[in-house]
């Protein structure tokens, strides 16, 4: 099942897109890994490609980064056509591959200096930028030690630092938190959040729904090499038309409470189930205060309140018939 949203990517929200991907196709023998992917990213926007392993995320990113030639379609970075033999558009992007693309024999500082030079930085600018990035990724005090002695999280942070060293207009992060402990993962996510505030466009692939929800302004749900749906979190959830749920647990006159609650504008439906009332509401966080007040006034003594909202997992399940981690 494919959403209408996926057929026609939305227009850029602000200015010229940093990245334009149109009808991208890549085949490996009989296998079509990417079958007509299109999307765009505006300056300062974080765009997420959300999909399970094998959905075509990394192949798409490889073509966007100019590592792989497309069989059809095109990629443009700041209006310049991207491909494996192109040089100029590559100046504008920073790639953070899924694998740890760092040299274990070199220190964090040496890794940054090396890739910075290849990206055209030099002299005082390179030294200053290296110091800034080391501070940003929290490795300033470990700058001189060989990275082979780093923890997995530290290596991941350095991996990201190298990608943003030269202040690219487009930063591509391919599953940057895979295999990372929760603490480092949170640090990585905070770093990415900070990037969009600096005006950097970010293309972020993940199969973690929570990361896509937390970081991305817009999300493309990708499966079997095609984008099934695209939009903001709210837009995507509207595709499946689900409402939030509020579950009230308590005693008293539950039937009267349910009748009073159903009269609220935000409440679509109220159902009494034993000692509970299940409410289907629009925008539960906003409505919950009125719901609790109304239930109390209607003679219900509350002992517990639970809110649950439909998430991207639900959307993915709705669109593809399978779970994200399948």
């Amino acid at each position: 099942m494919t959403s209408d949203v996926a057929h026609r990517p939305a227009e850029p929200r602000t200015g010229t897109p940093v990245l334009e991907v149109a009808g991208l196709v890549r085949r490996f023998g009989d296998l079509t890994a990417v079958g007509g992917v299109s999307f765009h990213i505006a300056p300062g926007e974080t765009y997420g490609l959300l999909g399970p392993n094998g959905a075509g995320k990394t192949t798409t990113i490889s073509m966007v980064a100019g590592l792989l030639a497309a069989d059809d379609g095109e990629v443009r970075v700041a209006g310049r056509r991207m491909g494996p033999r192109e040089v100029e558009p590559k100046r504008l992007l920073g790639l953070v591959p899924q694998e740890l693309a760092i040299y274990p024999e070199l220190s964090a500082r040496e890794n940054l200096l090396f890739f910075g030079r290849l990206n055209g930085l030099g002299g005082a600018e390179l030294r200053q930028r290296t110091a800034e990035v080391l501070e940003l990724i929290g490795l300033a005090d470990r700058a001189k030690g060989p990275t082979k002695e780093f923890s997995g999280g530290m290596k991941r942070r350095l991996n990201i630092g190298i990608g943003l060293l030269h202040r690219p207009e487009l930063l591509i992060l391919d599953e940057p938190t895979v295999g990372v402990d929760p603490q480092s993962r949170n640090a990585i996510l905070e770093s990415v959040e900070a990037l969009s505030t600096e005006g950097m466009a970010v293309l972020y692939t993940t199969h973690y729904m929570e990361e896509a929800e937390r970081l991305c302004d817009r999300i493309g749900i990708i499966d079997a090499g095609t984008i099934q749906a695209e939009g903001t979190r709210e837009e995507l959830i509207r595709i499946i038309g689900e409402l939030d749920e509020i579950r009230l647990v308590g005693s008293g006159n539950l039937t009267a409470a349910a009748t009073a609650l159903e009269a609220l504008d935000a409440v679509d439906r109220a159902v009494v189930e034993g000692r509970e009332i299940l409410l289907h509401v629009r925008d539960a966080p906003t409505a919950v205060a009125a719901v609790v007040t109304t239930a109390g006034r209607s003679g219900m003594e509350l002992s517990d309140v639970e809110i649950s909202r439909p998430d991207l997992e639900s959307v993915f399940l709705h669109l593809t018939g399978k779970a994200l981690r399948d």
Binding site: L67, V87, R91, L95, A101, Y103, F114, F115
Partner: protein, 388 residues
């Protein structure tokens, strides 16, 4: 150019830092040279021992005395001649008291002078060795010259010359300096001695490992993910491969020069003109670099590449004389001639003999041809690592 040098510098720094090049490019080969030199290095340096000859020759036989006297004037061989009766010669030799017995028959000199010929009996002693072989060779050489005198006297008699002149002719021929002389070979005919051959062969063998450390890092980069990041950098696609080739080439040249220098200092080996040696090293490293790029294309993983490179290095090194001299004939010789390590060793032999660049043209063309052909092959072979 800045990006190229940055990648090369980064590669060299890593290789030096992980010490792999230092160990396998210099320490191991020098140690092997040392051990093998102890085992094989002196095989071509033979020391001749003192030797005793039991000789029977008449006191008034001038030619007979001259024949025996020659033995005491052999350079590098200390010969003692015991004058004994004819019937004591064989027992002395059989008892091992003399390494060679010589019985010059009575009337030997007169017979030769008359052109009638004579027979000198040689008895090799019990436990006769190389020294005896040398003595026999010398006796044969002298008797052949005397035979020439006999033949000349016979020819003069047949021509009707008076008998009183025949002796003079025979003696003149026997004592005449040789009409044909030989001198020691130089340049193209010169070969390395055992120590020098080991040094050159080991340098050629380990060169293939050293170059591999630079070039095969391309596969390591692919496996550790840094190749993808490098390819996303704003630079020409061929720059990465060029940088790897240059890094491997620099490592190969430096390590080989260090090994040859170490061989020169430690084992007193002289490879001749430094310019010729440098050109040879540059050429053989070019060949090794091209060969390694074929390995890079064929191997799927760094493990496969390492094994393949090791096998190739040992095979080419052994065929090039890294462990012992190798000789072949026919088609095998033709194949061996295409081995760049063998060409390198051969050319160093010419250089060691005083040869110049013109004298090593053949081996140079072999090495450079090998480099060019395999460079082309490496571009044509599908990259199995990327395909995997």
């Amino acid at each position: 150019m800045r990006q190229l040098l940055t990648i090369v510098g980064n590669d060299l720094r890593q290789r030096v830092r992980d010490r792999s090049v230092l160990i396998f490019g210099i320490v191991v080969p020098v140690a092997l040279m040392f051990v093998m030199n102890l085992v094989f290095g002196d095989t071509d340096e033979v020391e001749l021992g003192d030797v005793t000859v039991a000789a029977s020759v008449a006191d008034d036989d001038e030619l007979g005395q001259a024949l025996v006297g020659t033995l005491t004037r052999i350079e590098g061989l200390d010969v003692t001649v015991d004058r004994v009766a004819a019937d004591e010669v064989r027992p002395r030799a059989e008892a091992g008291d003399a390494q060679l017995g010589i019985i010059v028959p009575t009337g030997f000199g007169d017979a030769v002078t008359r052109g009638e010929g004579a027979t000198v009996d040689l008895v090799e002693g019990d436990g006769a060795g190389l020294e005896t072989d040398v003595l026999v060779s010398v006796v044969r050489g002298v008797t052949e010259q005397m035979t020439a005198g006999t033949v000349a006297a016979g020819a003069a008699a047949a021509a009707g010359l008076p008998p009183e002149q025949l002796g003079a002719i025979a003696q003149q021929v026997a004592e005449a300096p040789p009409a044909v002389t030989t001198v020691e070979g130089t340049t193209a005919t010169e070969q390395l001695d055992a120590s020098a051959a080991l040094v050159a062969g080991q340098a050629g063998l380990f060169l293939l490992f050293t170059v591999g450390f630079g070039v095969l890092s391309l596969i390591n980069e692919r496996e550790q993910g840094t190749l993808a990041r490098l390819r996303s950098m704003p630079m020409r696609p061929g720059l990465i491969v060029t940088a790897k080739a240059l890094a491997g080439y620099v490592l190969g040249v430096v390590a080989t020069l260090v090994l040859l220098a170490a061989g020169t200092l430690l084992f007193d080996v002289d490879f001749g003109s430094p310019l010729v040696v440098l050109v040879l090293v540059l050429s053989v490293v070019a060949a090794a670099t091209s060969l390694t790029f074929v390995v890079v294309r064929v191997a799927r993983t760094s493990e496969q590449a390492g094994v393949a490179q090791s096998i190739i290095a040992v095979v080419l090194g052994m065929a090039g004389g890294a462990f012992f001299p190798v000789a072949a004939s026919g088609a095998a010789a033709g194949i061996l001639d295409l081995n760049p390590v063998a060409a390198f060793t051969r050319a160093l032999g010419v250089s060691a003999g005083g040869g110049g660049l013109g004298d090593v043209t053949g081996p140079l063309l072999t090495m450079l041809g090998f480099a060019v052909v395999l460079a082309v092959v490496s571009r044509l072979v599908p990259d199995r690592g990327v395909a995997a």
